[in-house]
């Protein structure tokens, strides 16, 4: 079984010193994805939550580290959610990044040729690709799902 959804992303990027990022309080409803020692992505469940998260993070750094940079990068990413027990296989057709057994896991690497951030969770995989590649990645997902008889559904928002 497999379903693929494309949706707008909800991502806030924080750039600050490693210590400041380490001590950023947990933002409810978000996943923390540490891209680099000085770069953190907060993946929110909804676009509204992204806005709230951006405000909260900005407030926090205004006090903790005024030089930090907080940007709502939701529009820079496009989210593809692969759900079902075939999700790992479909992912493996478009990326050489190994999916770890332990979930959830945050990974970075190329997917369908574009730089991507990957959240491997239990039962689903969330891919963040540059929003400029939204058509390209959707098209490649359709390519690799073509001819599947297990009822793969592609829903593109």
């Amino acid at each position: 079984m497999l379903s693929i959804e494309r949706a707008h992303a909800a991502v806030v990027a924080c750039f600050a010193s490693p210590q400041a990022l380490d001590t950023l309080p947990v933002q409810p409803g978000t996943h923390r994805c540490r891209v680099a020692p000085d770069e953190l992505l907060l993946v929110a469940a909804t676009p509204e939550l992204a806005g709230v998260t951006e405000r909260r993070a900005t407030e926090h750094f205004a006090a903790a580290e005024p030089d930090a940079l907080v940007i709502d990068q939701s529009d820079g990413w496009c989210a593809f959610t692969l759900r079902g027990d075939e999700a790992d296989n479909v992912f493996a057709q478009l990326s050489t990044v190994p999916l770890p057994a332990r979930r959830p896991a945050f990974l970075q690497g190329a997917v369908a040729g574009g730089s991507a951030k990957i959240m491997a969770c239990d039962g689903y995989i969330e891919l963040f690709v540059p929003s400029t590649l939204r058509h390209h990645v959707a098209s490649r997902l359709q390519d690799v799902c073509r001819g599947r008889t297990d009822g793969a559904a592609l829903r593109l928002a």
Binding site: Q73, H136, D143
Partner: protein
């Protein structure tokens, strides 16, 4: 000769006009053999008849065109679902090939003969080449186009085992028992090449035990063709291009029987032991009515046994003699003549084997026979293994210890599970290196190279394996050296023992040939970036074209109209492809001061500056803008093509200088629409209550505005030479903003404009396009951009170089020029001044504003000042031009500074 029916009836395929039946276990070759086909191909150089030999996909003899695809190895390809088979070379046919006369003319074609002939007269070779080309090749290129939809599939097992023989299965099982995730691949179906018996049964047991593990996977009819750095092992099967990324690899690809060299060794009827054994034991066919077996190994006796039982039982013939060492004589079944300690020295027959000559105890005997089966030792099939350089790769079984027994092979496989470090292969039970027989006898079946040619080449001075290989082309054919590499090495080592000259030739991928379409699986679709307005452009009928990896609108149907809209009224353009970055942090100013040749620190908030990007040699990499925001951070832009390189540039210099800078790539999350034209301000004021007059946003300034309900950072820009506002906004609102602009723009008869119009507009202003008007070594002063460089700055990237270059006379310049005739020159036109060739035109258009041609071109002037008049020669003719100064249109820049 061959009489047994296929084991189970069923399919058939067409072969050169005949219908050939095939059973479920048949390969194409076995089905053809059963139907009486004996000539399977014609050899490459001499067009000699070739027939089945190895039955393991290692020799070139069975290559045919299958379903339009040339050079298919029919001996390992199942016959089921095949429709059409034909032989490749041969004129008029493979059965009656007129070119077989080339064998009789071989004395005219010694090794390297083409290097020694046809030098004179000079018209001879072009004619000869045409003839050669007509008869060359293993088969015709396919006529039908192919549409392979194969994709990639990545695997990350702990262990990859290549080869599902006894050693490979033992290795796979041991690893799986140890808890590792194991992928086992075999290029055929496991066990299919082995005649029914103890070995085949054991393989079945191991396979079942392995398959019971949840973490075990098997891919059959899957060919691993290379071990690449990673390690990465690509494997092709019918469904996918599998890319395997194992932590360690076990190669158990086995061995090929030694190819013996003696006169007549390529005749139809000469078989390798394993091949004949498979033919009889698996396919139920007899290689001949009178079979001679020559072997010096225990394995060979097994083959002899298989043949003896199967062909005698079917009544299709008999093994008449066995040429074996005396020590193995007791293993020969009763009723077969034993020739002890004998050597096969010749095989003869006209077009097919009729007799062999065996030498024993100093005497020669001629044996009449129609099949000669040779099992004279093993050469490891180690092409894949030798490709590995420093990966964790172990060999197991015949590939590491050729000739080991089945028990030894199984042990070997098991041991790989525990081995931490690759052990050197133990001394094999193999006898010494192959002996090369007399001068005749083919060493290389693929390329028709005989021993005599080696000797000839050696005499001429080609005295290393590599030179001998290239000169004679041995090992360079389809078998990739499987049969002949050992002979090449042996030949050189006998003559130069211990020398570097006898090194094995480099093992290069692929170990098995691979279809290009399989290699390309999953790689056919290039990356294509779309802006947030892509759908809008397509919907309005724009002509979209590649700009780097982006798709952008070239025009919306009428370039002239788009141009006029910009010059006379107002127009909009999607410029979202610009590279855009937020740069912040304690050292942001220091970084930008270092990478830009202009001042940055003195920029006040809400002010911008045009910037160049130079490399350390002082050469132009890119251009763009730097904007200072209200909070003290920066917003910088680069050209669309320079965008990705710019990020590396920013980050590398940050790291290099140990700075703390936060760099966020907002190229995708921020889009930009350029509103340009004398009425731009009016348009904006229809959609915004924020002021945008010269006071609020002066030239060189920027401000935040809400336009049509969308928050925008509005930057005054200059590229097209009109009053222009670049609206940078969140990409999710692009379509709404664009729609509102077009809607409000109706009042002004507004059209959007694309790249075609842009190129003309910017050229009228004399603005350069990086990459089109610049070369890799363009300095700012050569293109009139000195104003963007402040040499008074103590340091910036490229400063030292520019200082040095400033002391040299300038010998080339990019100059603006006008052409008053009937047309502008073509881009690429060559420029002449005073009769001398001085340069070329890089940009050129007919300017509606000036009613003449305007161009930029490089002009060499090593003797001082550049010329004032030039002549441009293009494919149409030539035009006369005048070198001018500054922008063609609105030289004072009054329009864009409004």
């Amino acid at each position: 000769m061959a009489t047994a029916e296929p084991r189970s009836a069923g399919a058939s395929f067409e072969f050169e006009g005949r219908t050939i039946p095939s059973g479920a276990d048949d390969t194409i070759a076995s089905a053809l053999f059963r139907a009486g086909v004996r000539t399977f191909s014609r050899s490459f150089k001499y067009h000699r008849r070739r027939s089945l030999y190895c039955l393991s996909g290692d020799c070139p003899n069975c290559l045919m065109t299958v379903d339009g695809e040339p050079a298919v190895r029919t001996c390992v390809t199942p016959a089921a679902s095949v429709r059409r088979v034909a032989r490749g070379a041969g004129w008029p046919s493979a059965d009656r090939d007129a070119l077989s006369i080339l064998w009789r003319l071989r004395w005219l074609m010694p090794v390297g003969f083409y290097y020694k002939s046809m030098i004179r007269p000079r018209w001879l070779f072009p004619i000869a080449e045409r003839v050669i080309r007509r008869i060359a090749g293993l088969g015709p290129v396919p006529r039908e186009p192919s549409e392979s939809a194969k994709e990639r599939l990545n695997h990350h097992p702990d262990v990859l085992v290549i080869g599902g023989g006894i050693a490979g299965l033992a290795a796979a099982l041991a690893a799986a028992d140890g808890g590792e995730r194991v992928l086992l691949v075999d290029e055929g179906a496991i066990g299919e090449r082995i005649a029914p018996g103890a070995l085949r049964d054991r393989i079945g047991v191991l396979r079942d035990a392995f398959a019971r593990h949840a973490s075990a996977s098997i891919l059959e009819r899957a060919t691993a063709f290379g071990i690449f750095e990673g390690p990465l092992v690509p494997v092709i099967d019918a469904d996918f291009l599998h890319l395997v990324h194992p932590a360690r690899i076990v190669v158990a690809t086995g061995a090929v029987e030694r190819h013996a060299v003696f006169p007549g060794n390529d005749l139809p009827g000469v078989w390798l032991g394993r091949g004949a054994s498979r033919l009889a034991g698996v396919h139920g066919l007899s290689p001949g009515r009178a079979i001679v077996v020559a072997t010096n190994t225990a394995e060979g006796l097994l083959h002899l046994d298989v043949l003896h039982r199967n062909v005698t039982r079917q009544g299709g013939g008999a093994v008449v003699a066995a040429v074996v060492p005396a020590s193995l004589a007791s293993g020969v079944p009763a009723g077969i003549e034993v020739i002890a300690d004998g050597t096969v020295v010749e095989a003869s027959g006209s077009g097919a084997l009729r007799s062999v000559v065996v030498e024993a105890a100093g005497r020669r005997r001629t044996l009449r026979c129609d099949a000669l089966v040779l099992s004279l030792g093993l050469e490891p099939r180690d092409g894949l293994l030798r490709q590995a350089e420093f990966e964790a790769v172990l060999g197991a079984g015949d590939v590491a210890r050729p000739g080991c027994s089945a028990e030894e092979a199984e042990d070997d496989g098991r041991r790989t599970a525990g081995a931490a470090v690759p052990e050197p292969a133990a001394a094999s039970s193999q006898s010494s290196a192959p002996q090369l027989g007399s001068a005749e006898g083919f060493v290389c079946l693929c390329e028709d190279v005989a021993v005599e040619e080696f000797e000839h080449a050696w005499d001429e001075g080609y005295r290393s394996t590599e030179l001998l290989k290239r000169y004679s082309t041995v090992t360079m054919g389809a078998c990739q050296g499987a049969l002949c590499h050992a002979h090449l090495k042996a030949f050189v080592r006998q003559r130069s023992p211990g020398s570097w000259t006898g090194s094995p030739t480099r093992a290069r991928p692929p170990a098995r040939t691979v279809r290009l379409e399989d290699l390309a699986a999953g790689a056919r679709v290039p990356l294509e970036h779309h802006t947030s307005l892509h759908e809008r452009h397509v919907a309005s009928g724009a002509l979209m074209d590649w700009a780097g990896t982006w798709k952008r609108p070239s025009n919306y149907g009428d370039v002239a109209q788009e141009y006029r809209a910009v010059r006379e009224r107002v127009s909009v353009m999607d410029v979202s492809t610009l590279g855009k970055y937020r740069v912040a942090g304690p050292d942001a100013t220091a970084l930008l001061e270092h990478i830009y040749p202009c001042h940055v620190g003195d920029l006040k908030p809400w002010r911008s500056r045009y910037t160049l990007l130079l490399n350390e040699a002082g050469y132009l990499l890119d251009d763009g803008m730097v904007c200072k925001l209200g909070d003290g951070s920066y917003y910088v832009t680069f050209t669309s093509s320079g965008g990705d390189g710019a990020e590396s540039w920013l980050r590398d210099w940050t790291d290099e200088r140990g700075l703390t800078v936060h760099i966020a790539n907002v190229t995708a999350s921020r889009s930009a629409i350029n509103v340009a034209g004398p009425r731009a301000r009016e348009l904006l004021s229809r959609l915004s209550s924020d002021a945008c007059d010269a006071q609020a946003i002066p030239y060189g300034g920027l401000r935040e505005m809400v336009v049509a309900g969308v928050n925008c950072l509005v930057i005054r820009v200059a590229f097209v030479g009109e009053l222009s506002f670049e609206l940078h906004h969140a990409s999710r609102q692009s379509e709404a903003l664009w729609d509102s602009l077009l809607d409000a723009g109706r009042e002004f008869d507004m059209l959007p404009h694309g790249l075609d119009a842009l190129k003309l507009l910017r050229l009228e202003k004399g603005h350069i396009l990086i990459g089109q008007d610049t070369d890799f070594d363009t300095t700012p002063s050569k293109v009139g951009l000195d104003f963007a460089v402040k040499m008074s700055k103590p340091d910036f990237v490229g400063r030292t170089a520019l200082e040095r270059i400033a002391k040299l006379p300038r010998e080339r310049s990019l100059l603006p020029m006008t052409f008053a005739g009937a047309r502008a020159p073509e881009e690429g036109a060559q420029l002449f001044a005073d009769g001398a060739h001085v340069g070329n035109v890089t940009s050129s258009r007919w300017s509606p504003a000036l009613d003449c041609g305007v161009a930029l071109g490089w002009v060499r002037h090593p003797d001082g000042a550049p010329p004032s008049r030039v002549m441009a020669r293009d494919t149409i003719g030539h035009t006369e031009g005048v070198v001018t100064k500054g922008p063609f249109y609105d030289p004072k820049g009054e329009r864009l500074r409004a």
